[in-house]
Every structure is written in structure tokens, then in C-alpha cells.
Amino acid sequence: MSELAGRPADPAVGTPVAHADAPLHATGAAVYTDDLAARRSDVLTAWPVQSQHAHALVTLDVDGALAVPGVVRVLTADDVPGVNDAGVKDDEPLFPSEAMFHGHALAWVLAETAEAARLGAAAVQVAYEPLPAIVTVAEAIEAGSFQGVPRTIRRGDPERVLGTAPHVFEGVSEVGGQEHFYLETHASLALVDSEGQVFVECSTQHPSETQEIVAHVLGLPSNRVTVQTLRMGGGFGGKEMQPHGFAAIAALGATLTGRPVRLRLNRTQDLTMTGKRHPFHIEWSAGFDDDGRILALATTLTSDGGWSLDLSEPVMGRALCHVDNAYWIPHFVAQGRIAKTNKVSQTAFRGFGGPQGMFVIEDILGRVAPALGIDAATLRRRNFYEPGQTTPYGQTVRHAERLHEIWARVRDESAFDERRALIAAFNAEHPDTKRALAITPVKFGISFTLTAYNQAGALVHVYKDGSVLVNHGGTEMGQGLHTKMLQVAATALGVPLESVRLAPTRTDKVPNTSATAASSGADLNGGAVKHACEQIRDRMAAVAGRLLGVDERDVRFSRGRVSGLGASGPSVTFAELAQAAYDQRVQLWAAGFYRTEGLHWDADRMQGEPFKYFAYGAAATEVEVDGFTGASRIRRVDIVHDVGDSLSPIVDLGQVEGGFVQGAGWLTLEELRWDETDGPGRGRLLTQSASTYKLPSFSEMPEVFNVGFYERATEDGVVYGSKAVGEPPLMLALSVREALREAVAAFGAAGHSVELASPATPEAVFWAIEDARRAAETTGTTDAADGSRRAQPAPAAAAPIDAARTLTPFDR
């Protein structure tokens, strides 16, 4: 085992502790960015002037705003001393002359109160010169409106194999986007201190990049700008790239007025201005042998990137790398391209394209299983990677056996076969209500595909009294990173958890940090914190060796005591040793650094080893569907997930459960609707409030929720043998969608291939049930009688949701 992965005796990592801030959360004492503004009386509030057109040249007249009592200033492009751009690709003007989406911020009003700022923004006159707007992916494809570099992963000769495979299916799938709906909307508070330092409190997952963009907008070097992140009220990827422009507005306002400026989006603004999970349009052809083994897959993924690139390219890259999910596909081609539309710029969201990629293959398997006459669970298992096989992008699937073991354990612990029999009996007795149980796997690659991001820094101080202060480059958004880092530091220094404090993330403590994203926060920052702690511990061990009369290599740090090997010898407290070390002029603080070893990635060829390892899991989900309405309930979920040796079991459990429910929301409930008409509201987000955009509530919680971790799971080469956990569990929710598909099928006849819109809202499920019923009436049989074993084209529905969504036999 590597030194990084090994654990000392009696470690603080692995103990089940609640989130370190839980008492502060529960009492309302935990402070978030905008809470700071509420505590000051001198703060100006910034309010956006939002475009009322999806695409138009704009001219502003701000005089009306300046006449509103309380309005102090209106920020426009003329005010920018540096670069008028909020992105990293030079395609996101902070103050645009061309509105690129409905809701685009064109200018910002600063006022003494939020009320005055709102009224001021309403008083800004905007003259629009409308331009044609592309709102849907289909329109973008039609118009050839794309952005960024298209990418392709290819292995073997899929076209040839699809020409000869015994069973070939093709189809079109679409999956909707998802709003992050972090409970805390975007927020920044900027001020200029007595020394001219620009200080920005920001709810950001990427303080260093926020700092860079604030600096270039202000025309300042980075050393003049400090960004601090206390904690976020949720991020989920939505605060990886999107906070920068808002922070820059606040900072610009603060530098121009000399007053602190707060910018907090209200929910409507956040929904209409910030990016979301990318919707995908997917065309596919898949070939199978008689046993259901996938022979070849050819697919084209088109994501809706919105008006600017943002992170759309790496999101597509990760999507392409996850089309295979857990399955060996010998001949493979996946092409990805990014549509440019007049919508918000879609961005990172937990899973980062991985969910959309996995959606492709799981949708295919779910749709073709009835046509192949093979149970979907059997079909999935039959296609699993075997140890030694490689992904289409050339990486060996290390620990593929974990997938097999996890699958078997979930089937066993969920009593899969017994319950399926009970469900069949239930369904036979209930014409209006159907249940189903489905199981799906997850294999998710861990590491940033942009290799440079796979580094982290930390700064650890030991004070003379033995107390420890940890800074690191990661941010806390609720995922429990700080809790894990406290456990890592306590373990590495051999002190009690209570001796360690974590300081807010600041760019002037640890510079050039990576985004807290890609599930990598604990892997990267944990490596850096451990490195810093071990430098200090080694120096202290030398002092202790002299103090205790033992060789420094035999000094042990445990629970705040320092001793030689064996229990009988003398010992000192950690605090006494710290004082002694100080007296001997030994440095008691250290900077730590970590870089992930062994990664290489050729982005042009889409080949290499982009991932340090894979996280594995499987979920078995039982649903019940009401045949009258299409409404569904999640009755039971059984999950086994691979978190390596958990750093913090309560935290990891929370990530698995929370990720699963968030994924279920994406696939079954959360629906973004845009005005796609040619009317005056074209391009406007219709679901721009909590009352119209529905995230899971208590009624979507699985009634029985069993989560277990894969055991003896040490991940060599990662801090204390752990694995990343933030994103992979979200994709376990594909089992909900597959269970819904099977429940829908139970309303019809065997052999019917169920197409399910995504999200599978009650309405979507209802129409799928109607299709299944109609198909049963048409065939007049309950047995699969499809000799060709080809999927039947879905009969035309009375009220089709999308005529393009039919699965048709491949036409050759």
C-alpha cells in the first residue's frame, strides 16, 4: 500500500462524525455571504437590468434610474477599467452590447436599498434591435449553430459491425437539463480595504478563478484582489464558473463608489440568468448478438450549450467518456458537439456530463431489452466489463470485479428475485397500479479531464499551545469537505479532532487553487493537507525523539499524546511538544502540495488515462405507478457504493443519499420549460420560480432507503485509501427511471419497448402508459410474438409528446 493510502492506528478519518458545522447550521449561526451584508449598514445593493429579448442589439439610457431616490450609480460597459469579460474564453462580455438570451444582465444599478435598486433597474430604458433567436437544440442543429471543438471517441469499426450485427436498433433520445437550485442563490459582497486591496466575499466553488476574473475586469494584478469563501448554501457545480461575473460587478461597484457592494440574486434572477445542466439530444444505433451482447454502438451527442462556451467542452468530454458506463462495447464511436443557442450558458452540474453520457446506454438497454426478449437486469449484467478490458478511450477498467461484486450484493440485499415475484403477483391483481424493480450500475471516472486541475495546496499552522489551524484550497458547499479535512489533519498530526480548526477558504492563504469540483475536493486537498501536516509532524518528531530519548523514527503521535514505540515509555502532550519545538526554533507551519500522479490525456484524440480510478456502485429501485395519472412513488432503494475506505462515513452516506435523490429529481420531476413560440416572450424561461420548477420534496424521498458501502475497498494512491463520492451516486438514480419504464411496461403486453420522456414526470409517464396500453390492444396478445426480435415502432399516440421519439428498426 502506498504511503498516501495507509492509515495509522486509531485514526480520526473513518470515524462517523456529523458535519463539522452542523450545530451552527441548525441554530442559524452559520454565516453565508449575504448574511455578512445584513450585518452592515453601509452596503449598496446591486440589481440587474435584464434583457426582455432572447437576442437583440441593445442601447441603454440610464438617466431614468439615476432619478430614482436612493440610486447611487448605474454600472455600464463604460465603467470597466480592465477587460469587459466575465469568462475564461473571452466570449462572455460582462456588459454586452448584444443581448444573447432572455434575462441577460445588460447593466447593474447600485442603490441604498434593494427596493431602490429594483426601481432603478426598472427605470433604465433599453432600446432593442431584435435579431433571430435560436431556442431549441433542434433549431440549432437545423441552423448549424454550434460552438467549441467537436470531439469523437472511437474504437474498432462500429459502422462495419452495425452492418452485420444480428440485431440492430436505432433511435433518438432526449434528456432535459436541470437547475441547480442551491438553496443559497449567487451572492457576493465586495469592499476595498484601507490598503486598496479589493476583498470579495463570494459564494464560489472556484475562488482562484473568481479572483482572476475580478482582477482582469478591474485591470489589477491578482495580488490586489482577495476572494474569500466562508461556506456555500449549496453549489452542485452551479458555482464553479458562474459566480465570477457577479463578483466582478460587486467589486467594480465597490471600487467606483468606495462603498461595500452586495449582489445577491433573487430566485427569479438566479433561474433566468445562470447556467444549468446541459440538455442533450442523442442519436444512436446499437448492434447486439443473439445473447444480448453489445457488438457496436454509434452515437452522436448534441448538447445545448446556451449562449457561451463556459464549461460545455469538458462537460461534453466527460459525457463521451461515460457513454459506456459499466459495459464493454467492442466497437464504439461517440461524437459530441455543442449547440449554440440563445439561452443561459449551461454549465457544470454534479456529474458534469457523466449523467447524460450514461443516460445514453441505459436508455438504449432499457428500450431494447423487451425487443431482445431479455430481462433488462440480465441484459445489463451480461455486458459488464471484465477485469483487464479497456474503455473506448483506452483506459484499463481497474477493479472491474468490484462492479460484479457490488451488483451481486445489491441483488442479494435487495432480495431482488423474491421481490420481483411479489411484484408480478401484485401487478396481476392491480389493473390500475403497477410496481417494478430495476437495477442499474455506475462506473464513474475520477479526476479532472483537464490534467492541470489535478493539484491542490494547503497551509497548516500548529500554534505553541498545540492547537491547529488548517487552510486549504477547497471550498465547503455542504459536501462535508471541511469535515473531512479536519479528520485528515487530526489523523496526520495525531491530535484530537477538537484541536483542529478550519479557516475559511481565501486566495491569499493558498493561491492558484483548482475548482472544488469533479468530486475531487477530498482527494486533492486531502493530499495537500496531509503533506503539510506530515512536514510539521516530522519536524516535531525530531524534537520529540530528543525529548523522549528515542529515535525520531519511533515517535508516535496519537490523540494528542506523543510517545516512543510501546506504551510503557514516557510521553508528552502534543501541546508540550509544540512549545518545545518553538523553543528550539523549529518551524511549526507548512505549506502542503499534492498532484495526482499517472494521468495523461490526449484531448484531440480523446485517448489516454484521464482518470485516477473509477468509482463503482449499483442501485435497485422499486417504484409504484398510478395508471390513472402517471404519478409515481419510490417505495424502496437499495444501494451499494464504493467510496474506498471512507474518510467520514456520515458525510459519505449523505453524499450517496443526496446525490441519488437529486438524480431522481433530474430524471422524474425537474422540468425546465422555455418559451419556444415566436411570440414576444420567445426564449424566456417559463419555469422561473420554485412554484413552477419542482425539485424533490419529502414526497420524493424513498420510503425505504438502504445504503451500504463496498467493503475492504482501500483505494491505493488516494489519501487514506478513500474514494471520491460527490458525483457518482447521482447516476444511481438511473435505476428510478428504468423502474418507471418497467412499471409502465406492466400496463401493456410483454415485448413492448417503452419510451419514456426525460424527465419522466407524471404526465410523461401517463403518455407512456397510454402507448403501452394501445400497443397491447393492437397486438391483442400478452406474449412477445415478435419473430424478428426487432423493436416495434411505437404506435402513434393520441396526444404525442414528441413524434421524433420513436424507436424504429434500422433501415439498411
Binding site: 456529523a18 458535519h19 458545522d21 452542523a22 450545530p23 451552527l24 447550521h25 441548525a26 441554530t27 442559524g28 449561526a29 452559520a30 453565508y32 448574511d35 445584513a38 450585518r39 427596493e115 437550485f181 442551491y182 438553496l183 443559497e184 448554501g233 449549496g234 433573487n266 430566485r267 390500475d432 455542504g478 390513472f628 395519472t629 404519478a631 412513488r633 456520515i650 449523505g654 443519499e657 443526496g658 446525490g659 441519488f660 435523490v661 437529486q662 420531476l669 417559463l686 420560480s689 420554485a690 412554484s691 419542482k694 425539485l695 424533490p696 420534496s697 419529502f698 414526497s699 420524493e700 424521498m701 424513498p702 432507503f705 414526470t761 407524471p762 404526465e763 401517463f766 393520441a798 396526444a799
Partner: protein
């Protein structure tokens, strides 16, 4: 401006620096109590939840969780409020905070103070009885919505969490014991709630007035008919926050005794317009099964604790959930003005999109539900979520059957399929005089599917809405075939 004040976390504070449109949430946060958060500003997420001391209907007090984002700060005048900070501190956690923290019930923590307040309200509910203590059989495997401690999970259904997936929050709730005898909030329940107080706030050209009497309210309304009348402010609060609407005069009527009547007579039930949905539900106690079925599906407890029957009918939204139920119950609306009272049939009351027979100088005083009730009644709400959602379609049925199984009377109220809540008259005609059988139901269902003029919007398509009507009657029949319906 008259002196107005409020007790927050046991300390009296002057309500200063507010105007008629200032929300309780914004005011609390400006006083430094930033535990309550704005998550949505429309009463959907519960991140702003706080506790109000309200009457328990007798001489005691109930701790009632409400959305501070919808509540006008001025309406707090004379009230007692407890926030998450008032429940406990990090050094001295309240039992709900302790359970939430140790169970992993918080991740980002932003929603947690609101959850703590909603959970505390249920913790202190006087009639919360542990499952084994009430002498009834409970099947825990099949009652996922109640804990062994009697905790009703629906109490939390107006709080959204984006991080945890809810399981640990549920476990925290189900692990709660009983309040300690020395618990000050538990002890507070034994004393009367703060009395109603007349309030007058004038600032920035906007007035907030809570009149002392119905007489004064009606006089003001006569003189200034453009006044916005609010009770729970759960609808007006959304207009304030999301649509930027402002009113020169906000007239708060929720404490007027004449609007808080409740009487069960021989031929009618009278429900005061200013009673909250939650209060009505408690007082009826299942005496009107159709409402007992509808109310738990009405928004969330945080809303039901403030929203009133009168407000729901006054707003006259086509997707308000009380309207279809009250239409099926053949309810009548009692309107009062300075000139006197009049009573109108609810079926005649709605005249257009958010338009009614109510004149600007009138208040809704009460709703009357005639007795006896129809024996076959049901409320079907079609929405994306089972908890805390707005109807795509709502259907309420009330049918009378004779001994031979023939339908003698039928009233069907519909929401979400027209510009107003409507009666499904053609369907009612298709049912009356026929035997309650699958053939009748199929015929009538096809008529029902054609009632109204449903639209497509972000909640549902017109086609889905229409077919949901059709299926609702079939679903009713399946749940109540002829042999199970008392004549």
C-alpha cells in the same frame, strides 16, 4: 406612526425602519437574526420558516411555523416570534437542533434553520402522541409518514432541502422525544396567545392598517375600495416579492372576530373567512370528509398555517384548491359591506379570471356548507409532487345515491381547466338518474373529459388536463364501486 413592536426570542423589539411591503424575513435579518434565509421568496421552500405564538382555540398557545418571507413585518405587531436562534445556540442546542445535527440532517445548512422551526412546531404540537401511547394499532411498515413518536412527517413538507435527500431529516424527526417540563416554549403553551392588536403603519406613502373592528374595516374599504385586503398574505406576499406589486393601503383582516366564526348547525357548517386552512381542518376534525381529503394536499403546512378560506376565494385563482372542493359541497359565500350582508352561491361567485361577484367595498365574511353532505365524495389533485405543489388539475366529487344505486344528485367542482374554478354541469347531468355503474361512469367520464377549456402551460398540457378529468371519474368509481357506497 403608532408605536408597534414584537417579541422576538423572548425580547421585545420595536418594529422600526419598515414599510407596508417589508417582509418579516427582511426585518428579522436586518435586526441581525440571519438564521432565517430567503430561498425562494414565495413560500415554497421554507428556508425562512419561523415560529409564531398563535391561539390553540382555547386558552392556550400553539407554536405555529410560518413562512417569514410572505408575512408583512407590520403584521407581527404584538406577536411573539421564535427563530432558529431563539430555539437554541451551538453551545445549548434545542432538541430538534441536536437531533438534526447528529443525524446528518444538514449538509450546506442553508435550509436547516427553517427545518428546525418546522420540526419544533411539530415537536410542541400538544396532541402529538407516540404511536404506542394512543392505544391504536400502528403498522410502521405501511405508515411512512408518521414516526413512532407520533411525528407527522407532513409537518416538514413545506421545507425543501437540496442536499440530503431527506432521509436523515426524517430520522431526526422520528427520534425526537417529548419536551422537558422546564422547556420554556413548552411552558408557554399553557398561557394565552398574544391578543389581536390594531395596527397602523404609515411610511413611504404606503399604509398598513389592521383595523380594530369589522365596522372600521368596512368603513375603510368603502372609502378606499382599491385597498389590498390581506389575511394570511400568502398570495399577496408572492405579489410583493416576485412581481414588485405595492399597495397604497394594505388592510389586514385576519384577526377580526366576525371573520373567525365557526359553527356547525343542523343545516349548514359556517366557516369564518379569516380562519386558516389549518385551523379549519382542526376544527372540522373530519366532519366534512371532502375537505379532510383536500386540505392535506393544499400547498404545505407553512402555507396552511397562514392561508385562509376567505383568502383562497378572494384571490379566486383557477387553481386554488379550496374552490373545487367547496363547489362540490354546494357552498355559499357570505359577503359583508358597510351596507349589510348578502349570500351568493359559490357556483355563481366566479365571473372571470380572478374576477368575482365581490364588490371592492365588500369582505368575504364566511363560507356556508349546506348539510347533509353527499355520501360519496372525493378530491383528486393532479400535480408533479404529492407534497407542496400547485394543481395542474383538481377535481372534487360529491354524489348522492338512492337505495337502488341510482345517482340522485351530483356536484363536481373543477380547478385548472378554465379561467375560473367551475362546476362540471354537463357531467353532473350525465350522471343524475343513472345507476352508479361502470357503464354510467364511462359515459359520464367522456363528458367530463370535455368540460372546461384547459390550456397547455409549464405544469401540464391541455391534453393531459382533459384526460385527467376523464380518468378522475373512473378512479373514483374504482375506489367506490356501487356496493361500497352508502345510499
Amino acid at each position: 406612526m403608532d408605536h408597534i413592536d414584537v417579541t422576538v426570542n423572548g425580547r421585545q423589539r420595536p418594529l422600526t425602519g419598515i414599510s407596508a411591503h417589508t417582509t418579516a424575513l427582511d426585518w428579522l435579518r436586518e435586526t441581525g437574526l440571519t438564521g432565517a434565509k430567503e430561498g425562494c421568496a414565495e413560500g415554497e421552500c421554507g428556508a425562512c420558516a419561523v415560529l409564531l405564538a398563535t391561539s390553540d382555540g382555547a386558552d392556550g398557545t400553539t407554536w405555529t411555523a410560518v413562512n417569514a418571507c410572505l408575512l408583512p413585518a407590520a403584521a407581527l405587531d404584538g406577536q411573539e416570534v421564535v427563530t432558529s436562534e431563539g430555539l437554541g445556540s451551538a453551545d445549548a442546542l434545542h432538541p430538534v437542533q441536536e437531533r438534526l445535527a447528529e443525524a446528518g440532517g444538514s449538509q450546506c445548512g442553508y435550509c436547516t434553520p427553517g427545518f428546525a422551526c418546522s420540526m419544533a412546531a411539530e415537536f410542541y404540537r400538544a396532541d402529538r402522541v407516540p404511536a404506542d401511547a394512543d392505544g391504536q394499532e400502528h403498522d410502521h411498515d405501511h405508515d411512512h409518514d408518521h414516526g413512532p413518536n407520533g411525528f407527522d412527517l407532513h409537518a416538514l413538507s413545506g421545507n425543501l432541502c437540496r442536499c440530503t435527500g431527506y432521509r436523515p431529516i426524517r430520522d431526526a424527526a422520528y427520534a425526537l422525544g417529548e419536551p422537558e417540563p422546564a422547556d420554556p416554549l413548552a411552558a408557554r403553551r399553557g398561557r394565552p396567545a398574544p391578543a389581536a392588536r390594531a395596527t397602523r403603519l404609515d411610511g413611504d406613502g404606503e399604509r398598513f392598517v389592521r383595523p380594530a373592528s369589522l365596522h372600521e374595516a368596512l368603513r375603510m374599504l368603502r372609502d378606499e375600495p382599491e385597498a389590498v385586503v390581506v389575511a394570511g398574505s400568502t398570495d399577496w406576499g408572492v405579489d410583493l416579492n416576485l412581481r414588485g406589486r405595492r399597495a397604497a393601503l394594505t388592510l389586514a383582516v385576519e384577526r377580526l372576530p366576525e371573520l373567525r366564526s365557526f359553527a356547525v348547525g343542523d343545516d349548514a357548517v359556517e366557516i369564518g373567512a379569516a380562519l386558516t386552512i389549518a385551523e379549519v381542518g382542526r376544527r372540522l376534525g373530519g366532519r366534512v370528509p371532502l375537505l379532510a381529503e383536500a386540505f392535506p394536499q393544499f400547498a404545505s403546512p407553512l402555507i396552511r398555517n397562514r392561508a385562509t378560506i376567505g383568502g383562497n376565494l378572494g384571490t379566486a385563482s383557477p387553481i386554488g384548491d379550496t374552490s373545487p372542493a367547496l363547489l362540490a359541497l354546494d357552498a355559499r359565500v357570505v359577503l359583508v359591506s358597510a351596507g349589510g350582508e348578502r349570500e351568493v352561491d359559490l357556483a355563481e361567485y366566479f365571473t372571470g379570471y380572478r374576477q368575482t361577484l365581490r364588490r371592492p367595498d365588500e369582505l368575504i365574511r364566511a363560507v356556508r356548507i349546506p348539510l347533509p353532505l353527499a355520501p360519496l365524495a372525493a378530491f383528486h389533485k393532479i400535480a408533479k409532487r404529492r407534497f407542496d405543489d400547485i394543481s395542474s388539475v383538481a377535481v372534487a366529487f360529491a354524489l348522492d345515491l338512492d337505495d337502488a344505486g341510482a345517482v340522485t344528485a351530483a356536484r363536481i367542482g373543477l380547478g385548472g381547466v378554465a379561467a375560473t374554478p367551475i362546476r362540471a354541469r354537463a357531467t353532473e347531468d350525465a350522471l343524475v338518474g343513472r345507476t352508479w355503474s361502470i357503464e354510467t361512469v364511462r359515459d359520464a367520464a367522456s363528458v367530463l373529459g370535455g368540460e372546461g377549456t384547459p390550456m397547455s402551460d409549464h405544469r401540464a398540457s391541455a391534453e393531459y388536463r382533459a384526460v385527467m378529468l376523464d380518468r378522475a371519474l373512473l378512479k373514483l368509481f374504482r375506489s367506490a364501486p356501487r356496493e361500497e357506497v352508502p345510499a
